[in-house]
Subunit: 425 residues, 2 copies
């Protein structure tokens, strides 16, 4: 099955808006085993849309049109397709009622042309819009399927995820079930990961594995088609086992939950509180910890001690430690973690010190970072890292590695045997 | 002049990469007064590229091809265009030398097929690549101009900005000069801004004004074509004056410099140090302050006091203040700012307290935020804000408004008369 994507909107052609919808749906279609042949973006002009439709029909069977379903004058996608396919637009009662209710609840005045948004192509199946007004739809005509979707990303994405995918599976993958699972990794690059598991995952015919990376986390999504749900899950379990056999120490969770959230939930579940003394990260670790709703249950406060003086005066780091080992040292990271934990009376104390860059500090090159983890009644754990030469990347990696140290500590996992982490300080 | 953009790459069709290049160049072309008619994305297949070329030639004169200039087997853009236009590929000596030097300096082995990247279409003008190997080019053939650009964004963007634009201006806008200026605003939404200045900016024929917003900042870019540089600048000055007449209190700078950087540079220039006591923002304000290279000159440290206990114990907020007014109060923000300034011995102290949400706190609704600014020997300034119901948006807006308060304080500007800022506490 081949798909063609047509995005409609002047704001895309002037570069005001980046077309992230096209990437989003392409990714979803690819995971269903549907090939995307081309993506086209045109303005809201009848003749341009029709020219694209003609071209796309030559190449693919599934034609996806995005945008132009709103109530404005230049929203002409439905009308254009209606006259092009010689198919009437008819009122979809359920959507009309939803629009009326929506305006009643929000005390907004309903514009006269708003009924337009409740029109669907005769014979099409409507796709629900849980986050907006415009209804989507899918229509079979001849050998082609036409899909119409709204342009705003916050309406587009849920409609694709929750309704379109299901409809496509029902129509084209109907004799089979479709299952997928996303595994999340930290501490390994996408390229390294591909190199280490590539051979294991490329030999199944009914499996598509998509690997992506975003903000230092790498995801492996296993997409399987099979005759039964049980069979699909067996495939997924088998592949997951092969992947984790090689990469278990980097694996931290499933789905859309990022490392920060995994660690915050672990702290919540175990009723542990955390604090930090931050130098190079300047508050970014605590900002991550407090980003979620229940921050008050795991965090009471912490300190940013950026200068040498304040490390000594406010955080009570021994002047002898600083004089003998420097602030970029294992010893300083240990004291920072321990003192923060005492001052803020927390279960876990994190100390972050290092050279963010671009310059060196105390003869240490940018990217040299020490992270200490103190827990009541136990020896303080400390690790040395060598990251990158870029300041902001170093700060980000320091925060994420500190979070990962917390995860390893809580779950009692062995420290990662990672080239970047040098345990012989 | 009409332009067509063809992006080439399988990673775009699988949704692995979002096509931000298309938006970037469309924005640049629009600001030059060149209309983009369509954007197409195809895979690295000769017949697909040729089909797109044919279609694009029907619609536009300027055909821009992005991607497929590398040394891999599926990099076929140059070769395809060469055979399609019946134009030879010839070796560009300067690029070849640059590739050899590049590999010598980096101690990398030069791959055999790397000379491929030094080939250009006969008769084309090469476009320099300052951040990579592949050379770009522009070729006139019949009534069309063909532009070839590399796909990686960090090579693509500088090439467009520094070389392609100049070449296009020289070729098509050559009798006129082209000037532009970007103004940056904070504290106003894009929609409000358009409403307030729309009439003033839409009546000049040789002026294109593009308005955008990103991360709570709004930019107004004034693009002018004129006979002389002086005339262009006069236009820009005139429009800027009209815009600033209405929006001066929101204006904070020019070009690509964001509010955070403007404030950090102001602190550096005036040799002022800053500290903060943060509650709802959890360290995000200090993280912003320390994001730049010279952080050590303006910041020594600060404290995150998230819980009521730690506000009292670590930050010495009077228990009476908390009992009488609560932690979400003008009085608490004032004490936080003042105590942080004293503890960390800084010129300016910022206190941030409020309700990030989603729940209420002390009977105050989410989005209620108090920001205090203390300066030695002066009365502490405090402002109350009502932002949003979303936690992360509230945290972000609190940080940016605190930065904006610092800017207003340093430049001795009147406090903004903003609906969102309620001075009658």
């Amino acid at each position: 099955m081949k798909a063609e994507i047509i995005s409609i909107g002047t704001e895309l052609l002037t570069g005001k808006v980046v077309n992230s919808n096209a990437a989003f749906i392409s990714n979803e279609l690819t995971s269903l085993g549907i090939d995307v042949c081309s993506q086209v973006t045109v303005g809201s002009y009848t003749q341009d849309i029709i020219a694209s439709l003609k071209k796309s029909e030559e190449r693919g069977e599934l034609i996806i049109l995005i945008g132009g379903l709103g109530p404005s004058e230049d929203d002409i996608t439905k009308q254009t397709l209606s006259s092009y396919l010689e198919t009437d637009l008819i009122l979809h009662k359920e959507t009309e009622e939803r629009i009326i209710t929506y305006h009643k609840n929000s005390e907004l005045k309903m514009p006269e042309n708003n009924q337009l948004q409740a029109l669907i192509l005769a014979g099409s199946t409507p796709l629900k819009n849980d986050t907006g007004i415009a209804v989507g739809m899918i229509l079979t005509k001849g050998s082609h399927q036409y899909v119409l979707l709204p342009g705003p990303a916050d309406e587009f994405r849920p409609m694709v995820k929750n309704y379109l995918k299901e409809e496509l599976i029902k129509r084209f993958i109907d004799t089979q079930v479709f299952e997928s699972r996303k595994l999340r990794f930290f501490g390994i690059t996408e390229a390294e990961l591909v190199e280490r598991i590539g051979e294991d995952i490329n030999k199944y015919e009914q499996v598509v594995v998509t690997i992506n990376s975003c903000e230092e986390e790498v995801t492996v999504k296993i997409n399987v088609r099979a005759d039964t749900r049980k069979e699909a899950e067996n495939y997924i379990d088998e592949i997951q086992m092969k992947v984790l056999n090689k990469l278990n120490s980097y694996f931290f969770g499933y789905g859309e939950k990022k490392l920060t959230d995994v660690v915050k939930d672990l702290l919540l579940e175990r009723s542990l509180t955390i604090t930090a003394a931050e130098s190079l990260t300047g508050g970014a670790f605590m900002s991550a910890i407090t980003s979620g709703e229940s921050a008050g249950s795991i965090f009471e406060g912490g300190v940013v001690a950026y200068s040498e003086d304040k490390k000594h005066q406010v955080l009570n780091i021994n002047q002898e430690t600083i004089d003998e080992f420097g602030v970029v040292s294992k010893q300083c990271a240990v004291e920072m973690a321990e003192n923060a934990r005492r001052i803020f009376d927390a279960d876990i104390g994190i100390g972050l010190t290092g050279v963010a860059g671009p310059g060196s500090l105390e003869g240490q090159i940018p990217g040299t970072v020490f992270i200490g983890l103190s827990y009541k009644g136990e020896d303080t754990n400390v690790q040395r890292f060598h990251f990158d030469y870029r300041r902001n990347k170093n700060r980000k990696l320091a925060v994420l590695n500190a979070l990962d140290m917390v995860r390893h500590f809580i779950l009692n996992l062995p420290t990662k045997n990672d080239a970047k982490c040098d345990k012989n300080l």
